[in-house]
Symmetry: C2
Subunit: 266 residues, 2 copies
């Protein structure tokens, strides 16, 4: 089984102020998945411009100090949830058009967090969908948080990927991103920076701040942290550039070395 | 707490061959909910023309006899799921526009059936949403069925209503329908048929086949059966005509006698 993450920056116009789908990219990616030789597959996608503007406007996940703030934040939660659900419906629609039996699994319907980390999520149904040959599709969402001070949290696609991987033990995790992988130092500052073929620990990078700047959203640092933890328990992952034709197809077909491989030292 | 069912025939054009929303009706109903004095509320809506045409085309819930049939039915499941999710997104959008903090709860993400009846559904998260003042919105969906012969089933909004009511014990169940309630005999055949104010058992109806014809979809018979079972455990419900202005608002405000009340004999 493979877990494929599709970054929000790959399937949406992440710089857009209103939810905007990157339909061309999504059509191409759905075709690559359909033409690959994968057997069991879970897709997890980010929220991109369908989630981040709302989550930020309503500061979902920050401390709630008054009843008015709770009332306002609940509306923000509902709006965010509905917007990312619309994105998910469009992702599933694109997969369906390529004859992929995609089944949407809504995180806010069955996952809860405590202090923004998943504490409760029954994956039994996902396993059953997989066993029948469906392709479960999860996504970055808003969820209830058991911490009384914040009550709600943004749950990133990356955290979902890590939780699924820890519990379902896939052969591989593929992260479709809008960059080629991890560089040894910031390629924008240092022309001699080179793409790392393999990363097994933070130590291998010449400085840890470069990983903050590889991805304009600052997300790559967090991603790498989650992936290194997966590597420790023996789950290999690869960050690839999903904007380049056939990278996803090749990775699903088992080809390695397309981007940066994150694995343990062994 | 009140459970409000919105029939598929109320929020969609049920006679349409393609998914068609009844947006005017939905806007009016959302406004009535918003203007009512309800405290805790769960909304469950039917699938109408967003679900039935697909479920029928692919015969979801019928026995699967070959691998080809399974492959075809999986695509049918995925298409139905995506279509009813789109309806749910629009229902939630209409509620949000009236400042109701609606939270979508996707049945296929957490419910499974055996022989088309719910056997496994954790309602803990729904209770938590209710406690925070959210309005959970569930809907008729397709789900995995543990019977190996059929593997998938159509889960009606009515069955969800019954399961939620049995487990969460609401003060009242309100069924917003496109008819005024239950008649003692078929009003289309007998001009002297009268609307029943109260029904406590099938015996009170002059013939049980009339309940099949009250609703063109033949659904009223099944609905009444589920509601009579709820009555037995002390949960009162009322079938009202949601197409008439203010009926939903009145029912949410506690008014009785709008349609047909289903309760135990006491």
């Amino acid at each position: 089984m493979i877990i494929l993450k599709l970054g929000g920056s790959v399937i949406t116009r992440k710089d857009s102020l209103t939810p905007t789908l990157d339909s061309n990219n999504l059509t191409r990616i759905a075709r690559e998945i359909s033409n690959s030789s994968h057997h069991k597959l879970i897709v997890v996608h980010g929220a991109g411009s369908f989630g981040h503007p709302y989550a930020k406007e309503y500061a979902i996940g920050s401390e709630i100090k008054s009843t008015q703030e709770l009332t306002r934040k609940k509306m923000g939660f509902s709006k965010t949830q509905n917007s990312v659900k619309n994105l998910n419906a469009q992702v599933c629609q694109h997969l369906l058009e390529q004859e992929i039996p995609a089944v949407s699994i809504q995180p806010s319907s069955f996952i809860e967090t405590h202090n923004k980390r998943i504490i409760n999520a029954d994956l039994d149904l996902i396993s059953k969908y997989l066993d029948l040959g469906f392709v479960p599709v999860l996504y970055g969402d808003v969820v209830l948080d058991m911490d009384k001070k914040i009550k709600m949290a943004v749950l990133s696609g990356d955290q979902i990927v890590k939780y699924l991987a820890e519990n379902l033990k896939p052969e591989k995790v593929i992260l479709g991103s809008d960059v080629d992988g991890i560089y040894n130092r910031d390629p924008k500052k240092y022309p001699d920076a080179h793409l790392m073929k393999v990363v097994t620990s933070y130590k291998e990078l010449e400085s840890t701040d470069n990983i903050q700047t590889v991805d304009v959203t600052g997300g790559m640092g967090g991603k790498l942290g989650e992936l290194l933890e997966l590597a420790k328990i023996g789950i290999e992952s690869e960050i690839i550039n999903a904007n380049h034709d056939n990278n996803i197809k090749k990775a699903l077909n088992g080809e390695k070395g397309i981007g940066t491989l994150i694995r343990n030292e062994k």
